[in-house]
């Protein structure tokens, strides 16, 4: 049985927190295990924060459509935005192997999404970025 939450939000920081809260309430109401909730929370926060910080343009009202679909063994998160083109799969990972004084934390958010999810797919469709990730839900 599939359950789904659809949200449309403005590309601003305040709306990110609200969207995450709504998604968590939805998933908690379906008794998602704590570990999966944490991973979905993290993936959604990093994706939406990235879109708002790097994709949305000042002075423009950008729109982000979020779909959270709960299936029996996974949660699918899909984010569609009308911001400038950006493929997170092309982002370089953070460099934390160098000595501390030489490191820079860029790329960390996307790296966390990759670690929290089982797959990540991106496409550019009719002027919109479409990002879809999956979070595994252990079945008992």
């Amino acid at each position: 049985m599939t359950k789904e939450l659809l949200l449309t939000m403005e590309g601003t920081r305040g709306h990110v927190a609200r969207a995450i809260s709504q998604a968590m309430v939805f998933l908690e109401s379906h008794a998602l295990p704590p570990r999966s909730l944490y991973q979905v929370n993290l993936a959604l926060e990093e994706i939406l924060t990235n879109i708002v910080r790097h994709g949305c343009q000042e002075g423009t009202t950008n729109e982000i459509h979020v779909r959270v679909e709960l299936k029996s063994a996974e949660v699918i998160i899909e984010c569609v935005d009308d911001c400038c083109e950006f493929n997170p799969l092309d982002a370089a990972p953070p460099d934390f192997d160098s000595p501390l004084l030489e490191c820079e934390p860029g790329g960390l958010g996307i790296h966390l999404v990759k670690e929290a999810t089982s797959s990540m797919e991106y496409c550019r469709d009719q002027g919109r970025n479409v990002l879809r990730v999956r979070v595994d839900v252990p079945t008992e």
Partner: protein, 114 residues
């Protein structure tokens, strides 16, 4: 997110964080955390046993302060993170730069460089 100053003496800064270190959490305590940790330039112990969630902005805050401390020869150590938070610190590679300790004695040893 809340920050409590546990100890500030000539040899150590010890702070305790509680709550979610996400976008909002970083906004709530970021300035105070920077002032208290990298601002004091002392070896710094960050108790994260009551931090329930850690996102990249939170890691960035820890990293920025740890890097600033390193420029003065001081270290930062994270104490007793919860399992999912520790996993985030490990998988992000942050642990390569900011060691994790599971008790105070171990943390103090790491701060002294042992």
């Amino acid at each position: 997110m809340e920050m409590k100053v546990v100890k500030m003496d000539p040899d150590l800064t010890h702070v305790a964080l509680s709550g979610k270190l996400d976008v909002e959490g970083e906004e709530q305590i970021g300035k105070a955390f920077e002032d208290t940790t990298s601002g004091r330039k002392k070896p710094t112990l960050v108790d994260m046993s009551d931090v329930t969630y850690l996102a990249s902005l939170g890691i960035r805050l820890l990293f920025t302060c740890a890097k600033s401390l390193a420029e003065t020869g001081a270290r930062m150590v994270v104490l007793n993170p919860q399992p999912m938070v520790e996993e985030t610190l490990m998988t992000s590679g942050t642990v390569n730069l900011i060691p994790i300790a599971h008790d105070r004695d171990e943390a103090l040893r790491l701060l002294r460089g042992h």
